[in-house]
């Protein structure tokens, strides 16, 4: 059993909230829900919509077509007429003039509810349609600020709307309903975060907002400095002083951080940057998606230095990979980039989330002898000490330096330090080598036809792969790139189709760099996610 619901209207009238409220009810009665939120870059007006897809089996991808369409205005009808199926049920605001085919329920959404409160109206109408008991709705409304007002509106619409079909409670809760952004935030906290330092930028800001709202509960500091360059340098300062620090931004802000990224590499300062990709280049299409910062994230910063880039594809991976990212940064004293994109960050997933603090102790100075910040070691990792430690003088340096951290221009010392950092790169590579989980595998596991993808396309690839008989493969780390593990999974494949959201094919270039030559490609770059129908159509086209 699977259904999908589109809710459309203007920015500021609770579209996203309606989608999330509905989703939460569905999750609470046992469904797996995937919610895609689509909104342009404006504050009031325009056209927002949320697409809530739910099923009694796990789902992680958006679909275009909807069984139910709620339209608060004419624009929503126009935009989504093409998303209707035969039998789609429409819930229209009573003032809507556009004509639609099929079943129509007219309700005074705008007349009876104001602004964001309309979300409760929509919830009432839909729960009634699904014959879901009122109480289920009240349970999720309880958490709202204006519970009483919302309750009234909800009940008004519940009572005055129509039943359509019964969405029954199903067995077994499928998980928590949470977004990639929430996963990132919680992962950071459980990875030992002390301070989150960020400048607002879509689609990374939800992490900032979430952490700011809960900073007391989490026992962390959250600050917003003057600009991204200020941000990343505070992050490095905090880390140098022993605090686990992290920031989040999107492509433009990340670009501004790249000089300091190189400083993190040279000074070997642990740091975590969450980079949420969006429509690019430049300001681009800021509230929509793309995967065209991949090569930038891998090669940003002048000079050679090791880094780690992890690429979660859903909320749970956001949680797990970010938690690991903090530990990796401190284990290896390198910058770690958590690379997501708008539809990882802002979509909501239903996944089991078992929170657990995992804070590994980094390699620390044992207190004996003279402290040398850049002690040459076999694995390239030097013991850490922090300012304030009696007997240690901790000297960090952006110049090439000797073991103590004092500037050097001596060719031999330069080579020694560069070799040390390159050994660290190798240590990191070995750390991941052989780890099964560096690559995810799904779809039809025995197929010789393979979809290879990364990030937000994972859900849709797996689902379509299963339906059409493709194996699906995804590297979870982009650096160090799990080339052997990936080749293992691609061995014997007759067809290797790379699926990505970059017009120039950045992921394919990365595969090429490691000697992997795909036989076909699906590139989407209208900045919208790959809807299930898109990929089905593309692959079916190929079969014929």
């Amino acid at each position: 059993m699977e259904r999908s619901v589109i809710i459309g209207g203007e920015a500021g009238e609770g579209i996203k909230e309606a989608g999330n409220l509905l989703s939460r009810v569905l999750v609470s009665i046992g469904y797996s829900v995937f919610t895609y939120h689509d909104y342009p870059s404006l504050i009031r007006g325009g056209h927002n919509f949320s697409s809530v897809r739910f099923s009694n089996e796990g789902i992680y991808a958006p679909v275009r077509k909807a069984d139910y369409i709620v339209a608060l205005d004419d624009r929503s009808v126009k935009r989504h007429r093409g998303d209707a199926k035969e039998g789609t049920v429409w819930f229209l605001d009573e003032k809507v003039k556009e004509e639609v085919e099929g079943t129509v329920v007219r309700l005074p959404f705008r007349g009876e509810a104001k602004g964001v409160m309309r979300s409760s109206a929509v919830l009432g109408a839909l729960l009634k349609a699904f014959r879901i008991p009122k109480e289920e709705g009240l349970e999720v409304l309880k958490d709202l600020k204006n519970f009483e007002e919302n309750r009234k509106i909800f009940e008004l619409f519940y009572d005055s709307s129509q039943e359509v079909e019964e969405i029954v409670e199903v067995e077994g809760i499928k998980g928590e309903y949470f977004s990639g952004s929430e996963g990132i935030a919680l992962g950071a906290v459980d990875g030992g975060l002390d301070i989150y330092i960020a400048y607002p930028m879509t689609p990374a800001s939800p992490v900032l907002h979430y952490l700011a709202a809960h900073k007391k509960e989490f026992g962390i500091k959250v600050v917003q400095p003057e600009n991204e360059i200020g941000v990343i340098n505070m992050v490095l300062g905090a880390a140098y002083a022993g605090g686990r620090a992290m920031t989040g931004t999107s492509g433009g802000g990340f670009a501004l951080m790249t000089e300091t990224l190189s400083l993190a590499g040279m000074s070997e300062t642990p740091s975590v940057i969450y980079l949420a990709q969006r429509g690019a280049p430049s300001t681009g299409v800021p509230t929509y998606t793309e995967q065209a910062d991949l090569l930038f994230s891998l090669f940003a910063g002048h000079g050679d230095f090791p880094r780690i880039v992890v690429a979660p594809s859903n909320a749970l991976e956001c949680y797990l990979f970010t938690r690991e990212a903090l530990n990796l940064a401190w284990k290896f004293q390198v910058p770690v980039i958590v690379l997501s994109s708008k539809n990882v960050a802002e979509s909501f997933f239903t996944q089991p989330l078992e929170r657990e603090k995992v804070v590994e102790e980094p390699k620390l100075w044992d207190g004996s002898g003279e402290y040398k910040r850049y002690l040459i070691t076999d694995d390239g990792v030097s013991p850490l000490a922090f300012p304030g430690t009696k007997g240690a003088v901790v000297k960090s340096n952006s110049y090439e330096h000797d073991e103590v951290g004092i500037t050097t221009e001596d060719p031999r010392q330069i080579v020694e330090m560069k070799d040390k950092r390159e050994r660290k790169r190798e240590t990191i590579r070995k750390f991941f080598e052989g780890r099964e989980d560096t690559v995810s595998v799904g779809g039809d596991l025995n197929s010789k036809r393979v979809l290879v993808t990364w990030g937000e396309n994972w859900g849709v690839c797996c689902e379509v792969g299963e339906e059409l008989g493709y194996k699906t493969v995804k590297p979870n780390y982009m650096e160090p790139f799990p080339v052997n593990r990936l080749k293992e999974e691609l061995e014997g494949a007759k067809e290797v189709i790379v699926v990505e959201l970059s017009p120039a094919g950045q992921f394919e270039k990365l595969l090429n760099l490691y000697g992997i030559k795909p036989t076909g490609r699906f590139r989407k770059y209208d900045t919208r996610p790959i809807f299930k129908e898109d990929l089905l159509k593309f692959l079916s086209g190929r079969e014929r």
Partner: protein, 265 residues
């Protein structure tokens, strides 16, 4: 000069009632009134990113829709290669008091012959309401639910000390007055700065407060050639005060003639 068609086909996506409409209207009127002296093709606008930045999509003049914080430098580059251009930057308070503050300070220091109109709504609005450098410490934004842990900056004072040769404050709710300020700023040779109090009806609706507390410098006998008096007036309202007896001066704080950057390069 009603012959000038300044409208584009772009859909206006500002919130109804937004202070930006006042700035747009005042600017359009200024351009119309100046179009006898300044050929419209010589106008170049540039903007940052934010609600304010959208203004260039709505005006049918040359424009360079820049990135966050950088518009004033784009304009300085233009002016250096073509001195006949009339360069106007529409920038935001987050945009130019935070991200781009270095460029603002130096445009003033250099006396670059461009005009900066700051849409100062005291919020990062397009990114849904975080505090900016001019937000008061009681502003509850998404990144600082209890208010920013720092006091607001006073951009008028900062510009005076940075060497700006035309320093003014306008109010988006007083369009005729703002129009005159914009005209004066454009005509001023050298760097012109207008901090426009621009209420954001969604995240920080300051309309009622400004309406009540703004008064006009020119009506109060202020002498804009007196630097010390300008400093005093700048300090009269410090962007954190919200009491009932606040007095917020608008108008020209300071204006002085100095060789421009372009002349000296």
């Amino acid at each position: 000069m009603s012959g000038v068609n300044l409208k584009t086909y772009a859909e206006n996506t500002w919130c109804p009632g937004c202070g930006n409409f006042g700035i747009l209207r005042a600017f359009e009127m200024a351009v119309e009134e100046l179009s006898g002296e300044i050929p419209v093709e010589n106008f170049v606008l540039s903007s940052g990113i934010g609600c304010h930045g959208k203004i260039v999509d709505y005006i049918n003049l040359n424009s360079f829709y820049s990135i966050h914080g950088r518009a004033l430098n784009n304009l300085q580059g233009m002016k250096l290669v073509n001195d006949s251009l009339v360069c106007v930057g529409f920038v935001g308070d987050g945009d130019i008091y935070a991200e781009g503050i270095s460029h603002l300070v130096f445009a003033a220091k250099r006396n670059a012959d461009i005009t900066a109109i700051v849409h100062d709504n005291r919020a990062y609005s397009l990114t849904t309401g975080q505090f900016t450098p001019t937000s008061p410490s009681h502003f509850k934004g998404k990144s600082t639910p209890e208010g920013p842990p720092e006091d607001p900056m006073n951009p008028i004072l900062l510009m005076l000390s940075a060497g700006a040769t035309f320093v003014a404050r306008g109010f988006a709710g007083d369009i005729p007055h703002l129009k005159e300020l914009i005209k004066a700023a454009i005509k001023h040779r050298g760097f012109s700065f207008i901090d426009v109090l621009q209420p954001c009806v969604t995240f920080y609706n300051t309309f009622p407060y400004y309406r009540k507390h703004c008064y006009k410098l020119e009506e109060a006998g202020h002498d804009p050639t007196d630097f010390n008096a300008a400093v005093e007036k700048a300090k009269e309202w410090d962007y954190s005060e919200d009491s009932e007896d606040a007095k917020i001066p608008i108008g020209i704080f300071y204006q002085v003639e100095k060789p421009t950057y372009e002349e000296r390069v």
